[in-house]
């Protein structure tokens, strides 16, 4: 390296400042989660004098604004979506990668189109559509139900999922599929027994990436799943942030924020490289 001394120092100072702007607000939230309400108000910069878990307990389980039920809702929404999304997306991606037909390029492009447009633009027709689909005799149809939310999440996650998985299927050798077919495997068995296991890393990448996106999702849930108990964590914490302005239990709010972000932080630390891989795959599509 022949970088000049000045440019090296400049680079490191830049990184230090960047790291500080990233970490200071987050650390402040996490540290404040252990403080009492009085300490938060009286000494915003200080460390907790007697760290307690009281804030987390209130944020998690209190009757008034405990987020436990929303935590469960969000897990169901994430897991349910992935259980449908991954097989459905992998099936379509496999066909796009290995079974070209007249119009398959056009269909593929149509799927990709969904990656860029803000889904918030279509909320009115989407809401009315969901409301018009009958579900268990509910007057609101599929709105305000987890199955409705999951279906919509699947639909709006398909573009990215199909795009990335098609790339993974394209990089598998055709010879393997051909050999399996010669051995008497049908199309279905070739897919399930031979090809799908080959793209397992791809399934993991899109699975993790979608899980984070769904955990954080706000706009669609705001419109489609926002009735009393039936809400997701992102909505609940937002609501807590506004409601708390009147309750003034700031400690609980910081505690809630820690609970919401902690799973994401852990997943991120564990799968950092995979997540970056997925984000880049989605971004650099030319």
């Amino acid at each position: 390296m022949r970088r000049t001394q000045a440019s090296v120092i400049f680079g490191r100072v830049t990184l230090l400042l960047f790291l500080a702007t990233v970490l200071v607000p987050l650390l402040w939230v996490y540290i404040s989660g252990f403080k009492s309400g009085d300490e938060i108000l009286g000494d915003p910069w200080g460390l907790p004098k007697s760290p307690s878990l009281r804030n987390f307990e209130v944020a998690w389980g209190s009757k008034q604004y405990g987020i436990a039920p929303y935590f469960v809702n969000t897990i169901i929404a994430c897991v349910g979506t992935l259980l449908i999304l991954l097989p459905v997306g992998a099936m379509a991606a496999y066909v796009f990668a290995k079974y070209p037909f007249k119009g398959s390029k056009l269909l593929f492009t149509t799927f990709l189109g969904g990656m860029m447009f803000p889904n918030f633009l279509v909320i009115v027709p989407l809401y009315l559509l969901l409301k018009s689909i009958p579900f268990m005799d509910q007057p609101q149809g599929l709105t305000g139900t987890l199955p409705g939310l999951i279906l919509v999440y699947v639909a709006y996650s398909l573009s990215f999922t199909i795009f990335v998985l098609t790339g993974f299927f394209q990089s598998t050798p055709n010879e393997l599929a051909e050999a399996a077919m010669l051995d008497g495997c049908g199309h279905l068995a070739t897919f399930g027994k031979v090809m799908l296991p080959l793209v397992k890393p791809g399934i993991v990448v899109v699975g993790i990436f979608n899980a984070i996106g769904l955990w954080n999702e706000f706009s669609l849930a705001l419109v489609l799943f926002n009735q009393g108990e039936k809400r997701t964590l992102a909505l609940a914490i937002q609501d807590m942030a506004t409601a708390q302005q009147y309750q003034s239990d700031w400690g609980a709010l910081f505690g809630g924020l820690v609970i919401v972000t902690l799973p994401i932080m852990l997943v991120y630390l564990m799968f950092k490289d995979r997540i970056q891989e997925a984000m880049l795959a989605g971004a650099i599509k030319g």
Partner: protein, 312 residues
Amino acid sequence: MATGAVEKKARLKRSAFVVGFLAPATLVYSLFVLWPLLQTFQLGFYRWKGLSKKRTYIGLENFQSLASDENYRGALTNNLALLVFGGLTLVFLGVGIAHALADKSRIAKVTRALYLFPHVASAVVAAIIWSFLVNPSFGLIAKGGKSMGLPIPVDGILATAPWAKATVFAAFVWHALGFFVMLFSAGIESLDREIIEASELDGSSGMNRFWNITWPMLWPLKRVAAVYAVSNVMNLFVIVFVLTQGGPDGATESLLRYLWQKNYDGVFGYVAAMGAVNLVIALLLAGVALLAVGPNPERGRKTGSALTGGAA
């Protein structure tokens, strides 16, 4: 004859497989993504209020009222300003930080491990954290800034137009920057080592090398970044929704936040028209952003013009 029949059967099986495997995805996507999108464009031509079933065709009336809607124009101006200032900030900070990250020092290693936190923690969390930071009674910035002698407004940061704008801007950049750093980091890693090393042997200095070699070679990523900047700005909703609700007095209103409010007013035809226009604007802006990045400097003459042409 027999082989023909076998072949026909095989082809039929193949077609059945293709249709069967594409059907679930196509069905869900058409119903929940394409159909509402088409309806958005169609509903824009109707007057349709609240819960009534009656829709009246009114031609371009919604679009005409939109053109003279002061609030919509204000929101559009805010989005455009954020695109220009926020977009430039994201691209230049992104490239600069990515450049500094391509280093073996410990600080670079630690930064690489942590810098995406604000991005993966989501826009809602970013917005709430920033609303805390500027909270008059305990905010790190509001209270800390005051004790450090900064002229923090007495009415509160979010109640004072320029400060509220600055907060929305800060939260937006704080949340989005990691993604741009990651994008350019990947670009810098993929650059041709030989060219860079050759220029090192030529003895060109760090700054020169960056402007003459690295910056022009990042062209494809600048295009991706430009499109993403447009997409991020046109998607701006949660941050405004949580921080300011568009206030004070519309100072921080964004296109989607305004659409949401109109939705509450129950003027669904008008909201649909707004959605359709927003989409067209987003596409146009993406085109403009790509033009601003300029043509590929690798084709045609090397460097020179790319230095100024790359400001997107």
